[in-house]
């Protein structure tokens, strides 16, 4: 892979490694509570709804709706993002319930609308890391 990748890379830990392993296999995995069936993101030690520790990993549909977004025009740090701007960071609401931050790709920033349907598009950025990005739903 590209050795020049300068953007922040996730540092998977005991809680989050299954999520990133899933992304590497092009699966969007969410923690789901065995007690109350709630899906949650980011992963945590307990179900934040019922506090059960019995959590399992479950594949999400990858379908979501845009909730809010920003268009970054001034790159910070400049040396990392100067060729990336403008780019879109969004909060998307997954069909399974949780909200997630991501980039919206494959469309011009001006076309993004509140509630716009999007779908996951995996992008490998290093040997270990594949990011779940989203693009307008087909």
């Amino acid at each position: 892979m590209d050795n020049e990748y300068l953007k922040p890379l996730p540092a998977p830990d005991h809680l989050t490694a299954p999520f990133w392993d899933g992304c590497k296999a092009n699966k969007l995995l969410l923690q789901r509570c065995k007690q109350c069936s709630t899906s949650q993101f980011p992963p945590g030690p307990l179900c934040t709804k019922c506090r059960s520790a019995e959590l399992e990993w479950s594949e999400a549909s990858g379908k979501a709706k845009v909730y809010s977004w920003i268009v970054v025009r001034h790159p910070i740090p400049a040396d990392v993002y100067k060729d990336e701007v403008p780019y879109v960071v969004a909060l998307v609401d997954l069909d399974e319930g949780p909200r997630m931050s991501t980039n919206i790709v494959d469309c011009v920033p001006e076309s993004i609308k509140d509630g716009m349907p999007v779908e996951v598009a995996f992008k490998q950025v290093s040997d270990a890391i594949t990011l779940p990005l989203f693009r307008p739903a087909k």
Binding site: P10, I70, V72, I76, L91, S101
Partner: protein, 385 residues
Amino acid sequence: MWNLRDQCAIAGIGYTAFTKNSGVTVLELATEACMKACQDAGVNPDEVDGIISFNFGDSVPSMSVATAMGLKDPQWVVEYSSGGNAANLITLAATSAIKSGLAKNILCFRAMNGRSGFRLGGGRQMAAYGVTQFTAPYGWITYPQAMAMWCQRHMNKYGTTKEQLAHVAVQFRQNAMQNERAMQRKPLTFEEYHSARKIVDPFGLYDICLESDGACATLITSAERARDMKKKPVYIMGGAYGGGPAQGEDLFDIIRWPDPAENFAPYIADALWKSAGIGPMDIDVAEIYDCFTYSVIMALEGLGFCKPGEGGPFVAAGGIRRDGPLPTNTHGGLLSEAYIHGFNHVIEAVEQLRGEAGVRQVPNAEIALTTAGAMTCGSAMILRR
């Protein structure tokens, strides 16, 4: 709920110049502001037995300042590690220390070389540990980028406009032009606001606060002792700190926050007004945490000065003008006076209530509001003369 209404007071205030490059250490800034607060109150530093500050890894410990000032017998030496949300919280913490007997006279300060030293708005570490691994890899890194997400959500939900945000920026600049302390005193027109460099949609340059070197300090004591000191006491009438559920794993994290169209303010509003025994209509002057233009709009809505979604129309109709129903950020705020992380708002509120604000003075100001923070948690106080 905080229940020490009028039992403690701000007896002294002190501050340094607010600059882009202080040329001195943060310790020197903090010590200067704290010494001035003692002098303002007419209190010998030998009588100071408590000190508290907040920082974001960019300041000096309270014990450093206590040592530099030669405090004789400090009994309560405390740090709070957080952002602007803490600017009122440390004062509320000082009141509880005073009433429980932990200390008698407490210095509260915030000091930073926020422009020439560590620049809070300029970015964060590139390593993406903890919850940051779900934000930073997407290029979501700086505080302006964090806050723009809240603002866009408010626009989506309520139709808030850039023109309404412009009213906040332009009004506070007009206020700063009357303030000799302010770092930005050049006129700002609506046209300049709208044509400014885009930073991160929906924010342009003038939606974002300044970066500053400087320090502010207050001396807090009991109401009885304050009445024997040099200056007229400013009583701490009400206060609250808190936020809603899922305040995040760090200040940046809003993934699980219920709705970024509102911030912490509605979650503390009841406790704030009940603690003071008054309501929004009783406020003569408001110093509202304005790290970004929109955060003023969210505070106005959240604390009940207008209904949710009506903050934009409220400011556009002149609601926050000096001659309007709620004179707001009479010093120019974080947007145009300086970014001392909200502690400069407390200084301005005290000067207004003492009648010391000169050409900025709001006539007959008796009760002031200060707020601190703009995201998932924050603090606020009601002060009276």
